[in-house]
């Protein structure tokens, strides 16, 4: 006799989890691929999309081979006898996760899980890998238009292994900062702040785009930018909606809050452009920037703030990032670094704002996990505005400080290693050619002027 599911599996939870994961995956492919692909000048569109697709693929492979267990597995002990020391709670074991048990066994995190999950590990692994995979695609935005393609192929796996998995373990895998009470609902720190920092450091180390490219760097297709942006916004329903890991009331609250924050942030940027920018015109790309800031800012706290908090976070974060975008960019070191798509602002600063703001706006009434008995009423964030306590803000600040400093230094070191092995920049000759030089492809080939060489293996019967 056969039964369809093990007793611990909840089909509703499993469904929502894998659907959320798919939504997040779509945010990368084709979301980021066409958003960035349409934003860059025509000569770099193919290279940009290639780096997005290959980055995604590389992370998937590295994830099951070792990075998943490093991020969420049993802690590896490096620091002596104190079980709670930093070095005993910084990273999981380097371990493969491809066996049938690894895919079909129940997902139970060794440390720091409030409730064992009601689905299998493949579900959880896939959900987590799409988050890991989008992170390099974010800092791609800083380095496009000059990073050596081979260097990208090497840097992404190294970065996931040495930087992402550490931050993920510390904040999500039950590691040091999680134990101290720092929170990051869906990765405002692990993903966005880290991507912003890495992008900035990489853009600095690799050097700027060609002067000619910067001078003529207009977008090549705003309609595709709109497609990518729309997928990003609605895909984020999975990004935040999947992070309680249960298809419960907090999941959908997080979805609603995400959309509220995004709308508020987008409109804030639009109004600031209309009334404060030099041309006094509302711009589409400004709206998209505001949208991204809202999506990023709500990420550290989507299920822990209420509707007011969500909208205010959007307004505040957008106002701050708008100001940074137009004014901080004129100040050193920002004025000296060619962060091509401004990732340090829309992801770095926005993620930092969101991560700190949850310490203020975290509403104890927004219960993520219902508590029974002594755990009643359940797990929520005790924000300053509701409890008068600065504790959460302080923990958020410490975690942010770690992410910024560690990510910057580790990324810098990894870049130097990659530089030694393959170099970091394409040659000037290749940079002048763009896509044609690196991939032998154009984004809009012209049939009139292109002739096929040879007839391939096909010879028509009546030729």
């Amino acid at each position: 006799m056969y039964i369809p599911y093990p007793h611990w599996l909840n089909t509703g939870d499993n469904t929502w989890q894998i659907v959320s994961a798919t939504l997040v995956g779509l945010m990368s492919l084709p979301g980021i691929a066409v958003l960035y692909g349409g934003l860059v000048q025509r000569k770099w569109a193919v290279n940009t999309m290639m780096m997005a697709f290959t980055g995604f693929g590389l992370v998937l492979i590295v994830w099951v081979l070792w990075a998943f267990n490093m991020s969420f597995g049993t802690p590896a002990h490096f620091g002596g006898s104190n079980a709670h020391s930093f070095f005993n709670n910084a990273i999981g074991h380097f371990k493969i996760a491809t066996s049938p048990q690894a895919e079909q066994g129940q997902e139970i995190l060794p440390e720091g899980t409030l409730i064992p999950f009601h689905y299998n590990q493949a579900t959880f692994m896939y959900f987590q890998v799409v988050f890991a995979a989008i992170t390099p695609l974010l800092f791609l935005g800083s380095v496009l238009g000059r990073m050596k393609f081979k260097a990208w192929l090497l840097f992404v796996p190294l970065w996931i292994t040495c930087v992402y998995s550490v931050n993920a373990f510390l904040l999500w895998g039950g590691g040091f900062f999680a134990q101290k009470g720092a929170v990051d609902y869906s990765g405002g720190y692990v993903i966005h702040l880290a991507a912003g920092v890495t992008g900035f450091v990489a853009a600095w180390v690799i050097g700027p785009r060609l002067e000619r490219d910067r001078k003529h760097g207009v977008p090549n297709n705003l309609l595709l930018v709109a497609v990518g942006a729309g997928i990003l916004w609605l895909g984020w329903n999975g990004f935040n909606g999947g992070d309680p890991f249960y298809a419960g009331v907090d999941a959908t609250s997080a979805v609603l809050n995400t959309n509220l924050c995004t709308a508020a942030a987008m409109m804030t940027w639009v109004f600031m452009d209309m009334f404060l920018a030099k041309e006094k015109k509302a711009t589409f790309l400004g709206a998209i920037n505001g949208m991204i800031v809202g999506l990023v800012a709500i990420t550290p706290g989507a299920g822990w703030v209420n509707g007011y908090g969500a909208m205010l976070e959007g307004l505040i974060a957008s106002a701050i990032v708008w100001t940074a975008w137009y004014y901080l960019v004129k100040v050193k070191p920002f004025s000296k670094v060619d962060d091509a798509l401004g990732v340090v602002y829309t992801h770095g600063i926005a993620g930092l704002c969101g991560g700190l703001l949850v310490g203020f706006f975290g509403d104890p009434g927004m219960i993520e996990y219902i508590g029974k008995g002594s755990d009643a009423p359940g797990f929520a964030v005790q924000g300053l505005f509701y409890t008068g306590s600065w504790h959460q803000v302080w923990e958020q600040f410490l975690a942010a400080a770690w992410v910024i400093v560690f990510t910057a230094i580790a990324s810098f070191i990894l870049l130097q290693i990659v530089k030694l092995l393959v170099g970091l920049r394409e040659s000037d000759e290749k940079l002048e050619q763009g896509d044609l030089g690196i991939h032998g492809e154009e984004v809009y080939p012209e049939e009139t002027f292109a002739e096929r060489v040879g007839s391939g293996s096909f010879e028509p019967a009546n030729a």
């Binding site: 934003l39 207009v218 920018a277 030099k278 041309e279 711009t283 790309l285 400004g286 975008w325 137009y326």
Partner: protein, 112 residues
Amino acid sequence: MKLVVAVVKPFKLDDVKESLKTLGIHGMTVSEVQGFGRQRGHTEVYRGAEYEVEFVPKVRLEIVVDDAQVEEVTNAVVDSAGTGKIGDGKVWILPVDEVVRVRTGERGSDAL
């Protein structure tokens, strides 16, 4: 025979084409070009960065005409393409050594 080249504002193309048809001109070649004379370009803003576009989109017409018609063709173009504002364009006339109709091989005025 002469080659009349005219660079005019894109939205005036229809008027120019119609006025040439009434003169019996049955063929022309048109391309989309960028240019500037005294007309200034404009500024575009992408993601807060300003881009100066010095060039202005124009349309270039090329018509081969008999010597006898050059004067009236030129006047027709100038009258129909003009708006009175800077950027209306220019017409210039070049001599043509030979014209051939590809389909029939006819030459000279028979090819017009």
